[in-house]
Amino acid sequence: MRYLDKDIKEIHELLVSKKICPLDLVNEALELIEKNKDLNCFITVDKENAIEMANRLGEMEVDKDNLLFGIPIAIKDNIVTKGLRTTCASRMLDNFIPIYDACVVEKIKELNMIIIGKTNMDEFAMGSTSRTSYYKAPLNPWNKKMISGGSSGGSAVAVGARLVPLALGSDTGGSIRQPASYCGIVGMKPTYGRVSRFGLVAFASSLDQIGPMTKNVYENALLLNAIVGRDERDLTSSDKEKEDFTRLIGEDISGMRVAIPTYFISDIVEKEIKDKFNELKETLKKKNVIIDLVDIKYLENAVTLYQIIAMGEASSNLARFDGIRYGYSTPNPTDIDQLYLKTRREGFGNEVKRRIMVGSYLLSGENAQLYYNKALKIRDDMKKELMKVFEKYDLIIGPTTTTTAYSLDSDLDNPLKSYMDDVLVIPVNMAGLPAISIPIGFSNSKMPIGMHIIGKPFSEATIYKFASFIEKELNLDLNPERGDKDE
């Protein structure tokens, strides 16, 4: 009997009726993780603490109002966990054991969820294939020769392969939505400020956001409920009041106005994906959803802006890794300069170094005015353009990615190619908007295709309503191993 493939509501009922206990869930997750070790989606599995926690919860009364009670969850390895190794998939933090919990981890613990382990990712979240990980890339559960996407690849694989029902990722330029799309799961990047970044190891502070990665839309909203809220420790976190993100799920979507940016269905997108998306468009039209094509300025500049802003900020954010206070430190440096140089040369991987160098250059001397400050201005303009669309439309939709997951063997040393993976998802980060990726079908080679639904700031509930409608309409079987396993 497998429990973790069931909906959380079902699992919760089994827990409440004492048919199972949290330890059953933990044991199943640990077994599955062990059995699927080749997927390489976990960097650290916290077996001992997970079992201990499950035992502790087993002695408690199940909280009937808390659907997340006793549910195993995986956490991306750039979110710090007290006493549990947090590597950012970097040699630099290979031995790093944090002394505090991230805000989201505190919330997860308060709700008595069980942290199973820390998931694989691109080093410091820099990449879109998870291949820059110091611990090697995770494999796509739909085809192990393919990439998982990134940077939250490990979380996407863990949920996609049904090893855990829930995971947290982080999204700076598509890092939740793109791997969610590649692995056939639901991934939400909330509005910038919705979720506290306290305890998220910073990549690009003005873009980073933590979000839920789940099997389905309802559970995604449920997990978002658990992690949002003003945090006094993060000045960029919003003081929006708590709301139930599941509240609009199931409501009728007819009459909703939806915009499709022409750029999102231009030639940059593979035909297979466009076809699938157009199919869905017709379905929506039949449901009386009003759909218009719109031209949105600056979308094609998003990747360039992203590179300037993200790399500029990253070069500064990653300066703290110097071998003095924590993390990797080169043995026997002759002087302070050697300590810096060798620690960072040996501790960081190539992609991280590339981005630090580009970022430092972009902020250097006159360049700061020429590039960074100018990028911030264009970014504001881009946000205004997008907000204009929301004056007329409830949502913006399109495909999440231009291709489906591609081969693990493809050229890693072509950064421009992998930056292009994110052209459709990056504008959302630039404008701080909420957006989700949900599966809408498969390619001919049986790889998942994702759809992107973007809302105005703090309209997550509306996004979930729309996404849930599509999910129900399509009713896809999203378990990559269906048929191979006993039911």
Binding site: D234, A319, R320, R325, S360, A368
Partner: protein
């Protein structure tokens, strides 16, 4: 006299007096065990974010106000990126583009002439940690990391080491009075860097700038600049060139010594701090922050001098903040400020020193002080009387009259009584009277002493002296 004109600009870092640090809630304290006042934010731990201590913004608004600066209402923080072991994040959060204060000034008095030392800008930033070098290792104390600082930068408008010293003294006095910092240079809560250059004449372009870092005391401010000017003059006189460099003052050598030659184009890669939203100060914020600024030293000095206190004594009182505040509470009354200041700086100050007390620890009330001043002014109490009863005044919950009665002080102020005693002493000491007649002025002191002995010190000295003199002169 030198043939060169010095140009000096001064940067002062002042630690703000706040309970907690600027970007974390760790305690802002001095003198505690190393690394006991620190947390994950101060350590630059991965995943941590800065918060803003509102008290820092309040204090900075106050500082900008007392330094006569314009306040920038729309401001933000910037990151200054550089690698150094005392810089935990390897960037310092500071204000580069939008310093909270700009275009201010401090007034100093050079040889009786007022001069405006112009302040270019004043900004908020975080302190670094303290490093201690032991042999070939460096130890880091993060207690100081994240302590709030304001940096005050003058225009290059200071033209002598004396002016520089006066500026620092004045700045310190103002910041102390406004309660912004405790300004202890020896503890590092006030630190001073000076940029010094010289040129042959006013019309010549500015000379090469040399920075003197971390000057550790007020007297060394003047001294180090003076020595640096002399050093530069020597170089010019030898037709050599000055290289841009950073030096420090070595008080043992009594001279500045080279720290490092300045690298050209130091590139700090400034950019706006993305973790702290931009700040907008409202008029209300500014009103609120400045409402409790007390009367500043310059105004106090003006009032004291107007009320007849000497410049020297005015300065002495201003140096003693509590005394000055006490005296200020009588500004609206017609209290004799000269007598009052003499009492404060005299017997009261020595009592406080001896007992190591503050005024507030004593039982000297405003009412008691007024009576004391009146009695001294009206010659009802002699300075000797005051000395005799000062302890009782400060320590007993009794009125001045009660104390006088208790001590049995009865001063002879009746002219006829004193006259008769004077006559008696003259009669008994004709030799001294002769000496006086022969021009030995000192003998009058002897005669005074005899009178005091006779009256057990109760004869009012001013009246007695006057009568004695009259009598002696009439005998001439």
């Amino acid at each position: 006299m030198s043939n060169y004109i010095p140009t000096i600009g001064i940067e002062v870092h002042v630690e703000l007096k706040t309970n907690t640090k600027i970007f974390s809630n760790a305690i802002n304290g001095y003198g505690m065990g190393a690394n006991t006042l620190t947390n994950v934010i101060d350590l630059g731990y991965p995943g941590t974010l800065p918060t803003i201590n509102k008290e820092v913004i309040r204090q900075a608004i106050k500082a900008a106000t007392v330094l006569n600066c314009e306040i920038r209402k729309d401001m933000h923080f910037d990151r200054k990126n550089y690698f150094y072991p005392d810089n935990p994040k390897n960037y310092q959060i500071t204000q580069f583009n939008t310093p909270i204060g700009h275009d201010g000034y401090v007034l100093i008095e050079v040889d009786g002439v007022e001069k405006k030392i112009e302040i270019e800008e004043m900004h908020i930033e975080e302190d670094t940690c303290k490093s201690a070098h032991r042999g070939n290792v460096t130890l880091l104390d993060f207690n100081r990391a994240g302590v709030p600082l304001i940096e005050i930068v003058t225009k290059p408008c200071i033209s002598s080491s004396e002016e520089a010293k006066l500026y620092i003294e004045k700045l310190r006095e103002i910041l102390l009075y406004a309660g912004i910092s405790d300004c202890k240079m020896e503890e590092g809560s006030m630190r001073c860097d000076a940029n010094v250059s010289i040129r042959p004449k006013e019309s010549a372009p500015y000379g090469t700038k040399v920075e003197i870092k971390n000057i550790g005391s007020i007297s060394n401010v003047g001294l180090s600049i003076q020595k640096e000017i002399m050093r530069q003059e020597k170089i010019y006189n030898n037709n050599e060139t000055i290289t841009p460099q950073t030096r420090r003052f070595d008080s043992k050598l009594n001279d500045t010594v080279l720290m490092r030659v300045k690298e050209t184009g130091n590139d700090y890669r400034y950019f706006p701090e993305p973790d702290i939203p931009f700040i907008h100060l409202t008029d209300e914020d500014i009103r609120e922050a400045t409402k409790d600024i007390p009367m500043l030293p310059d105004e106090r000095r003006k009032i004291y001098i107007n009320k007849g206190i000497t410049r020297v004594n005015s300065d002495k009182i201003i140096n003693h903040r509590e005394m000055s505040d006490f005296l200020n509470s009588f500004i609206e009354s017609d209290l004799d400020f000269v007598v009052a200041s003499n009492l404060l700086l005299g017997d009261i100050a020595s009592y406080l020193n001896k007992t190591n007390k503050m005024l507030k620890d004593t039982l000297l009330s405003k009412e008691k002080f007024v009576v004391l001043v009146e009695k001294v002014k009206d010659n009802k109490l002699t300075s000797k009387n005051v000395k005799d009863i000062i302890e009782d005044i400060m320590e007993k919950d009794l009125t001045i009259d009660d104390i006088i009665e208790e001590k049995g002080i009865t001063n002879i102020t009746d002219n006829s009584i004193i006259e008769s005693i004077v006559d008696k002493i003259i009669e008994d000491n004709m030799e001294s009277v002769e000496d006086y007649k022969n021009g030995h002025d000192r003998s009058i002191k002897y005669l005074m002493g005899q009178i005091m002995k006779e009256t057990k010190g109760q004869a009012e000295p001013r009246i007695t002296m006057q009568l004695l003199k009259e009598k002696l002169d009439s005998l001439k």
